[in-house]
């Protein structure tokens, strides 16, 4: 980031940076530091005295069965949403990449869900699958399926997975389509002349060249499931039934709101912070690799 010439000015650059730095320090770094500090403290029941307890909050956290449940719910949720959203959008992008008539129209009709808030996606799917009056729930009952996301944990998890994947298809579709369109047509033509059928061309040429995009989308989708699906869960299932849809982020929110255990809540935040840092690092290593491609 070096320019040949630049402005002389001693105070001006600081003044220009001041608004952004002020907001980042006051609302990002100070609270993050407070969360780390609080995670080492233990407050007594009346909030009168606090004690520095090193890693006791973390020990308590990792001996709590409910925390392991939240970890496994988050993991299962991530895998299901990521697999569903990636495979469906890849299938659609491959079709849209063919120079079909009306390809532009399909693109427009597939990308708008990006603009839909996760909570709105959740409510749309809840309405279709509301056990007593939802149109699709009635259909399921007609076929003898005893469907009730309010009581059955598998049903609740399926419902939030459907809503989360539905919303993410548009984003993945756009990136897959861009990835497909950047593959040189000459490669595909050469393979066709050598007699490779479309399916073989896809798996031996297109798919490997698309893998950087797929890998990038994989990390983005995991981050999405971890953090952005909060709205879906909060509006649709409230983490229930019996914690079956309580993800790590929902648990931080819920435990903190109940109040009391400040240190434990802070420890949960710090664990999440470590997860984001790891995921972002993976994402950036990938971007650097891709630059050298």
């Amino acid at each position: 980031m070096q320019k040949r010439s630049y402005f002389a000015g001693r105070m001006l650059p600081y003044a220009l940076l001041a608004p952004q730095l002020l907001v980042t320090i006051v609302f990002f770094y100070v609270p993050a530091a407070q969360a780390v500090w609080q995670s080492f403290l233990l407050q007594d029941a009346f909030g009168i005295s606090t004690e520095f307890v090193w890693f006791e909050n973390y020990q308590l956290l990792f001996s709590d069965a409910a925390y392991y449940q939240a970890i496994s719910v988050t993991a299962v949720f991530s895998v299901l949403v990521t697999v569903a959203a990636l495979s469906i959008s890849l299938l659609l992008a491959v079709q849209a990449d063919k120079s079909l008539r009306g390809a532009g129209v399909y693109k427009t009709l597939l990308i708008w869900p990006y603009a839909v808030a996760p909570v709105v996606a959740g409510v749309l799917w809840l309405f279709m699958f509301q056990p007593s009056l939802g149109t699709l729930a009635r259909g399921l009952r007609h076929f003898g399926v005893d469907w009730n996301p309010y009581l059955n944990s598998g049903d609740a998890l399926s419902l939030v997975v459907l809503a989360a994947a539905w919303k993410q298809i548009s984003y993945n579709f756009l990136f897959f389509l861009a990835g497909l369109q950047s593959i040189p047509k000459s490669l595909i033509e050469a393979a066709a002349i050598d007699g490779a059928r479309p399916a073989r061309r896809f798996w031996t040429i297109v798919f490997p060249l698309l893998s950087p995009t797929a890998f990038y989308l994989l990390t983005v989708n995991i981050v999405y499931v971890f953090f952005d699906t909060f709205g879906i869960i909060h509006a649709v299932t409230h983490g229930g039934p019996a914690g079956a849809t309580t993800t790590l982020v929902y648990k931080v929110f819920n435990d903190g709101r109940a109040g009391g255990d400040l240190g434990g809540s802070a420890a949960q935040s710090v664990v999440l912070m470590a997860i984001v840092i790891a995921l972002t690092a993976v994402q950036f290593r990938f971007i650097e690799r891709k630059v050298n491609y």
Binding site: F7, I25, F27, V119, L272, T280
Partner: protein, 282 residues
């Protein structure tokens, strides 16, 4: 197209049509529900064709409010969402433009540090610092205010990165020519740099408008008054009513209202949207 295979093309069209239908169906059903009356929905008799209560339901939601739950006419949360989305998007763009300008066009101590301080906020989404941030906003007396809804979300590593990237590609000759003409930093920024950045700014605006409009956790935490809520929070409040049935036809009308502005922005500015998305994420 390498070879022409009509049957394969037909299959592609079919797959895409099914995809579009799956993507659109939930919204279509919400639209049908928002034109229905409460008893039809409550009895589980909602069909697949619109009914005649569309205008009545939207009027009620917008200007009269629900009968149970919050009773808040949704025109107010809609306005709040608009304010929030505009302040966040314009705010993010403004402070990121001047930050990137400072980092690229000046030499000063701690230049790299400042860049990294902004950059690393990518790793601190609001979800990992919920309660400490809430406490700071509360201590500043900003609960239930527009300032509290927007200012804490206004820092933007992605926008700063994008504009920094873009300024790097602006030829040095432009700055040299401006300096020869005797232009100072402000004049160069306003008359040369800003006009060149307009496409990036517009692309960023689309992305950040949607981001601001769709915020959920943050307004949920810091607003308590019904008249300070945003529209996406309004939907959630409508779903959970104590000792009463959800007024689904109104909840679905609210849902449609909540998704309409960002969807219109994406569809109307599709080119800018795609550009903004692919430029910021890569």
């Amino acid at each position: 197209m390498v070879e022409n295979r009509p049957l394969a093309n037909l299959a592609s069209h079919l797959i895409l049509i099914v995809g579009v239908a799956i993507v659109a169906f939930p919204v279509y059903l919400a639209l049908v529900a928002s034109s229905s009356d409460p008893t039809t929905i409550a009895n589980g008799q909602l069909g697949l064709l619109p009914e005649g209560h569309l205008f009545e339901n939207y009027w009620k939601v917008l200007f009269e409010g629900t009968e149970r739950s919050t009773k808040q006419p949704m025109i107010v949360p809609l306005f709040n969402s608009l304010v929030m989305a505009l302040v966040i998007s314009i705010g993010k763009i403004s402070i990121s433009l001047i930050s990137a300008f400072a980092i690229i066009y000046f030499r000063f101590p701690f230049r790299h540090t400042a860049f990294w301080v902004i950059f690393l906020t990518l790793m601190l989404p609001v979800e990992v610092r919920i309660y400490p941030t809430y406490k700071i906003v509360a201590d500043l007396g900003l609960l239930d205010t527009y300032a509290g809804l927007t200012i804490p979300l206004i820092a933007s590593a992605t926008a700063t990165l994008l504009f920094r990237q873009f300024f790097m590609t602006v030829p040095d000759e432009l700055l040299e020519a401006s300096k020869i003409d005797g232009a100072g930093p402000w004049k160069f920024f306003k008359d040369t740099l800003l006009p060149l950045s307009m496409t990036s700014v517009a692309a960023m605006f689309v992305i950040q408008f949607i981001y601001g409009w769709n915020q959920y956790l943050w307004p949920l935490l810091i607003t308590t008054r019904d008249d300070m809520q945003t529209i996406v929070i309004g939907i959630q409040k409508m779903l959970y009513v104590t000792d009463a049935l959800t007024e689904w036809q109104l909840a679905m009308a609210t849902t449609i209202l909540a998704m309409l502005p960002p969807v219109v922005v994406v569809v109307a500015m599709q080119k800018l949207f795609v550009r903004g998305l692919t430029e910021t994420e890569k």
